[in-house]
Every structure is written in C-alpha cells, then in structure tokens.
Point group: C2
Chain length 446, copies 2
C-alpha cells in the first residue's frame, strides 16, 4: 500500500482570502468572470488538488450593514459579489476533468429537496466530482434575506442541520445505481423495485421523495462539514467525509483531529473515512525576506473600515467601533453565529495581548486560519510536519489573491511535496471519492 | 425596419415531449448525460433559436404516486429524472454562445433571494442569455417534498408569485451597471452611491438585500410566464417579457394574444414588449403519409398506465381509473393545480366527444398543446399563418423525442421560414434580450 497521501483543497472566497489582496498589482479581482475562475481552477487541477471549495453566504458581507448611513465606509468591501457557488460548480463541471467541486450550502436557509437535487445534478454533470459543504451559516446578515431578524439559535440550527443531512442522503440513496433501464422494447423506463420512497417525517422536515435525479456516479456526493463547536464536531463525526477547520497551532490541530476521529469511531466509522483539513493562508516568495515584505505590503493596504467587520461578525452583537481601537478587547456576549470561532478570537487576543485594531488586522489577514509566510520549502516543511504529526490529513489552501499565489504554489510547493512522497503525482481515480481514498460508492446511511 | 420576426424556443421535458417518444429506434433518452443535452441545444443554436426552455417540477411525475403499491404501473414513466434545470443552464452557459437559456423556477417552493442569485449568476456566466420562467407550480406532488400536503390555493399562489417577482426584480436592480470599480489605488472596490438596498417588507416576504451578485449583463434576466388563468394572465401582462401558452386553435390563440396585449397596455406597457409563444408539438416527415405513420407509431407505443397520469394531474383529485375508460369524462372538481389547463381538457373532451382513454391518449401526446403532423412545408405554412394572423409572436417547439426531430426541424423547416422572410438568418445580438428585440437594459420596475 502506498504511504498515506496529503489531501489538498483550494479555497475560494472571491476575489481572494486576504481582505486587501485584490489591490496587488498582479491581482485579478475574480468575482464574476467565469474565465478568471476557470483559470485558477485549472491551475489547481494542474497541481493535482483534490478539490476546489467555494465558501458561501447568501448575503453581502457585514461591512455593508455595519456601514449604515455612512455607506462610503463599505466601499472597500471586496468580497461582496460573486457567481453563486452551486451555479459555478455546474459550469466548472463541464470545463474541468479531474478536480473535485465543492461548495457550501447552508441548512439554515435551504430546503433539503433542492440541495439534494442540485448536488446530485452536479455529480452527474461532473461524472462524480461533487461535494456539499454543509454549514449552519455564520454571516448573520443572511437571516434578513429570508424573512428573519437573526439566525435560529445555534443549537436549533445544528438540530435542523442533522435532520436536513439525513433527508438529503435519504433522497440521494432512493434509486439504485441500475434503476434506469430505458428498455425501448418493453417500454419500461425504470425498474420500480430499485426505488425506495423516502417518506421522511421529522421535527423540521416532511419530505416524501423520491428525488427526480437518478443515483449519482459517486453513490452520493462527498459531504464536507466546517463547524467546530460541540454540535459541529458531533455532526462531522457522524456524517462528514471531509472536515474543514481553522487551527492555528500544531498542538491544537492534533487535539482537534484526535477528537473528531475518536467521535467518528463512536459512530462506528473508521477514523480514516473522515479527512480533516485545516485552513492554511500562505504568503510565498523565493526568499524569506521577500515573503515577509509581501506580507507587510498586504498588511499596509488594510484600512480600519475594511478590517473591523471581520471581527465584528463574531462580537455577539457588540459594536466594537464604540471602544478605543488601541485598547483591549472587551468582554463579548456569546455569539450565535459561531461558537468555536468566537472562542478562538478571544483566546488569540488574550494570548498575544492584542488591541482591538491589532486583532482585527490579524483576523482580516487570516479569517482565523493559520498563516504561513515564507519560502516554498518552508511551507512544504510545515505541511509535512503537520501531516506526519497527525495534525492534518491535508490542507485547505487560502490564496491571498488570484491568480499568482496559486500558480506559485503549484509551481514551487507541489513538486516539493511530491519529492517527499506525501503527495500524488497523478490523480488516482476519476471521482472525488476515489481521489480522497474513500469507499465508493458510500455505504447506505441506514 | 425589417419585418417582424418569428421567435422560437426549444422546449425540453427530458427525454422528450411525447410520453412514448423515447421508445423510437433513433431516440436518445436524454435525461442525465450532459453531452446529449448539449448536442440538442447546439442543434437549436445552429437553427438560430432564440432560446432553449427547460420546464421543471421539483418532484417525480404523478405516475409514481398514482401507481401506489402497484409500483410496476409506474415503470413506463420516462420523465422521472433529469439534471436540475438551473444547474444545467449554468453548464450550457459556458458551452454555447448565442442561444438564450431559460428554465422554470417555481415561486411556490423557493425563496426569492436564491432565485434572484441563481438567474443573475447564469446571466453573468452566459454573458446575457438567462431567462426565468416564473410558474406557480402545477405538479401537486411537489407539495409533499416541501412539508405540505397540497399546494397553497391557486389564488394565494399567484399572490405570492406577484410579490416574489417584485422582490427578485428589486434584487436584480439593486446595483447599477457601473457600481464595481475595483480601484486598486484607492482601495474602493465599489461605489456605494450605486447601491440601493431593497428593504422589502410584504405579506409573503421580508428581504433586506442587496443581492451578492452585481447587475447582470441584460440589466435583468428575461422573465417568462406560463399561466393562463385570470391571475396568470394578469401577472404576465404586468411582468413578463415572454408568455408561454397552450393554444389548440388559431382563433383561441388570437383571442389569447389580444387579451394579454390589451392587459399589458393597461399596465402602461407596449404590447410588443411581451412575446406570446404558444407550444407546438411537431411530428415531421418528408411526406404527409410518412408523418401520419410516424404519429400512429408513436400512439401505438402508449399504454394506459403511461397515459392516465397525464390527465389525472388535472382531475381535481378524482381517480379517473375508477371509471370505465371507454366511457365519458365525469364531472371534475375544480383543480387547484391549473385552472386554464383543466378547462381546456374538459372542453376538448366535450367538443370531440372523447372517452376517458381517448382523452388521455390525446393529452399524453401533446400535453394540451397543439400538435402538427405533416411535412416541413406544411409546418412552415401553419407557423406563418398563425404568426401573420396575430395568433403568435413565435412558438415553443415541443420535440416528441431527441435528437432526430430537432435536427429535422433545423434542416427542413428553418430554411422554409427564412425564405419567407419571417425568421432571422443570423443572431441579431449577443444577449437574449437583444435577440428578442426587447429594450436593453430593461427599464427599472419602480
Ligand atoms: C474552512 C472553513 C470554511 C467555512 N465555510 C463556511 C461557509 O462557506 N459558509 C458559512 O456560513 N460558514 C462557513 N464556515 C463556518 C462554519 O461552517 C460554521 O458555520 C461556523 O464555524 C460556526 O459553527 P461552529 O459554531 O460549529 O464553529 C467555514 C469554516 C471553515 C473552517
Ligand atoms: C409552455 C408551458 C410551459 C410550462 N412549464 C411549466 C413548468 O415548467 N412547471 C410548472 O409547474 N408549470 C408549467 N406550466 C404550467 C403553468 O405555468 C401554470 O402552472 C399552469 O398553467 C397553471 O396556471 P394557470 O392556472 O394560471 O393556467 C407551463 C405551461 C406552459 C404553457
């Protein structure tokens, strides 16, 4: 058996994961032009990435709400518009050949029948490369686009998410792979004995089924999950093929991975069936000092208006702009948006004794994820160390902007990882499930 | 000014509009293979069609429910699975260049923010070729996939649809065309003075906005509408760029078109800004007798199990299988699914004195639309006559199966129409709106 291989996802938060990255001279502010997306995705495919992953929220970012009447304060908010990710995946499905295609779909503002249909359809279009990142929603501005003032309570959102998941998987598994016979002679289009009608009746959903999409090439699309709170980890342990997470130190990442694997075993799963992938921002250059200079340059392009919203979405409703920005972070009310993220934020401020402004700048650089600044070899060293120490099965790579950093990663870092024998030199299979080394097709849920 | 030109849409109800068409030796039962869809769509594009149009329902067809425990009775239901249409449009957006891309999205089981985002995204991906067919849902089986036992009442569905429409258009028009400046030097990504936040508060929806997609190339995607009841015609007159309709005689079609145009004028619109397109099934061959033989062959492949569901979805809940199939149609309770369609069905049975079985077979052939059986010249004659007599601005062509009938139409009928000077010989513009000859960008709603 070949040695365990590192998994890679390319994270998209258009036009880049660094709040000011789009201002770089070589940055292409990719947000609505398909060819620009395709360019970066094909680069990731050349780099043999397992998947691209489009994060999402069904709202503009909080900057616009926070700006209130002072609309000019929102002008720097780059991550405001984009191609809706499931729509984008469909277009990428027919213009790429190997790379996995993953997008966020929130369980808080969708219906399971629609989500099941769309991802099953993308799985057909891509011949087995679709993945659904199940989230319960972070950005509180979503609520007001769907008739609510605020999110449902955190616990209730996760309860809904768990049931939502079960309905979606139940719909995906309603038809056997060989149900559609399309026999012209007899006039039988399908074999009804290969159909199970779901008839789900639960607390949050009543869904009869069946799905009007046949069983998809992967058996069912890959499920990713990205919550790190207690119920988030439980849901991941029970349901996820992939867990995205934000971890800033090797020790924390080890503990997180061990925890999720342990929980997966309690659900009777093999811990290797859940790939744990922390996010990793990277600022690369051929020398340390060039990388440091690039990092400083990125920092220098940030303004208070642009950085403050990134921590205010975790402030539990407190308007941090009312406090001295060079003073300490005040006590925060519990956030309903994201428990684990808020906890990390508060701990970071305390640990490094950061002022509000410093914290905001740090957070806006990384979105709470780890940041690597250095050379390709240094990055490969770090990734290998985390991988071998059981802190990660792979990484979600966050590019500060597009397309240069991704090109550099593929050109400089991928060969380093391959040389070390921890990264593929060709795609193993045709489906995302195969490339991730997961059982295919997935075993039935019930 | 060139003479008024006929508009054409290619209708998709995979794997074909005739319930048994897929059984033809040359039929490709297109339902899940993208390349098969693309093949037919490119053929329509070679034929300079204005648009392809994917009808939809978020459920399997009634045949499966009606079969109940006798599941084998549903085995012939061909139109059971498909690629979800909005997903499919995205894939077609990046693999075609001129043809308009229209899909159904029901206002009864969706949220306006999602619909606005998806069609705006498709408009960006296709560089201005997206269209949304707004329906209130016909197939009653949808209800049970969304937590309900039955549709909302017809009147309430239309009330919701009208408000849904206004929210969607309001979201589409939230950003001016030149809002996104992406100015690296100043750090201003957009100009906040070019943004209007919707803040919609109505009876059915509360939606703050703005949309997280920039103003789309067409100003806003094309809106098609396909209801023919009283509230359906009102909604079309106020909102639609295109009206799809089922009309079986020239006189009825003339009356319908005059009615909708008259209503449009009452809303202060130019009647030419709403293109009225009846559906038209076609069974073509190079001679009359070959066409008639093909039609008879298609009929001969129908079974009772396959045809009965097509009228039972309009029976207002009455199980017509309990009546002698060779006897007359009993009195039907008012359908909540489709008023106008039910009325047509009852009138057809009465007018032609059809038994239940005959009616079902007729209906399953045509879905209530007109059926032409004959030669290419005969079809062009009929289309020209309707067009010149003010019965239609164009037609929605329903192919009994794929791909042969569409190829024959493009090869045989398109040149006939062109020779008569009523059909384009090249696309006029790059956007669907331009090709339809509509004002671009559309004037603001308010
Ligand atoms: C890599 C990564 C990607 C994420 N992507 C999204 C996203 O696209 N949309 C979203 O609402 N939340 C996203 N989240 C946030 C989580 O899904 C989750 O909503 C948040 O962490 C709150 O859940 P928790 O309290 O369980 O941590 C992401 C988190 C991580 C680590
Ligand atoms: C060409 C055409 C296409 C249609 N496509 C759909 C569709 O995709 N989905 C749907 O639910 N109804 C569809 N309909 C039905 C109407 O939208 C509408 O739901 C039905 O006619 C009931 O409305 P009414 O009572 O106003 O006639 C279509 C009708 C026509 C004429």
């Amino acid at each position: 058996m070949p040695p365990r291989q590192l998994k890679l996802a390319a994270f998209f938060n258009p036009p880049g994961s660094h709040v000011a990255g789009w201002r770089m001279p070589d940055a292409v502010p990719t947000d609505l032009e398909f060819d620009e997306y395709l360019d970066v995705v094909r680069e990731a495919e050349r780099g043999l990435f397992d998947m691209v992953f489009f994060q999402d929220s069904a709202a503009v970012p909080p900057a616009i709400t926070l700006a209130g009447k002072d609309t000019e304060a929102a002008a720097g908010a780059a991550r405001t518009v984009r191609i809706e990710p499931m729509t984008l995946l469909a277009a990428l499905a027919v213009t790429t050949t190997h790379i996995g295609l993953v997008a966020t779909g929130t369980t808080s503002y969708n219906e399971p029948y629609h989500i099941a249909r769309r991802f099953a359809s993308i799985d057909h279009l891509s011949k087995g490369r679709a993945g659904w990142n199940l989230v319960t929603s972070q950005n509180e501005d979503e609520a007001q686009n769907f008739g609510r003032d605020a999110h449902l309570d955190h616990a209730l959102r996760y309860e809904r998410a768990a049931e939502f998941h079960d309905v979606v998987v139940g719909l995906w598994e309603g038809w056997d792979h060989d149900a559609f016979i399309r026999d012209k002679a007899s006039g039988r289009y399908f074999d009804p004995s290969k159909l199970r009608i779901l008839n789900h009746v639960g607390k949050h959903f009543r869904v009869r089924g069946p799905l009007n999409v046949a069983r998809s090439p992967q058996g069912r699309p890959i499920i990713a999950q990205a919550g790190s709170s207690e119920p988030g980890k439980e849901l991941a342990a029970r349901t996820a093929d992939v867990t995205f997470t934000a971890q800033t130190s090797l020790a924390e990442a080890q503990a997180f991975r061990a925890d999720v694997r342990e929980r997966a075993m309690r659900y009777g799963r093999s811990p290797d069936d859940i790939k744990i992938m922390p996010g990793l921002n990277y600022v690369l250059a051929e020398t340390e000092s060039d990388a440091r200079a690039l990092y400083e340059h990125l920092l220098s392009m940030m303004t208070d208006e642009v950085v403050m919203p990134s921590i205010m979405r975790l402030s539990g409703g407190l308007d941090l702009r009312q406090f001295p920005l060079d003073g300490p972070l005040p006590e925060l009310p519990q956030s309903n948006a994201a428990h684990a993220r808020q906890k990390m934020l508060v701990e970071l401020a305390r640990r490094e004794n950061l002022s509000i402004r410093q914290l905001a700048r740090r957070y806006a650089t990384s979105n709470g994820h780890n940041v690597f600044v250095g050379t390709p070899k240094g990055l490969a060293d770090m990734m290998e160390a985390w991988f071998q120490a059981g802190a990660a099965d792979g990484f979600v790579m966050l590019s500060p902007y597009y397309p240069t950093p991704m090109r550099n990663f593929v050109r400089w870092v991928v060969p380093e990882l391959q040389r070390r024998g921890i990264y593929r030199t060709a795609y193993e299979g045709r489906t995302l499930r195969e490339n991730l080394g997961l059982v295919s097709p997935a075993p039935p849920l019930r």
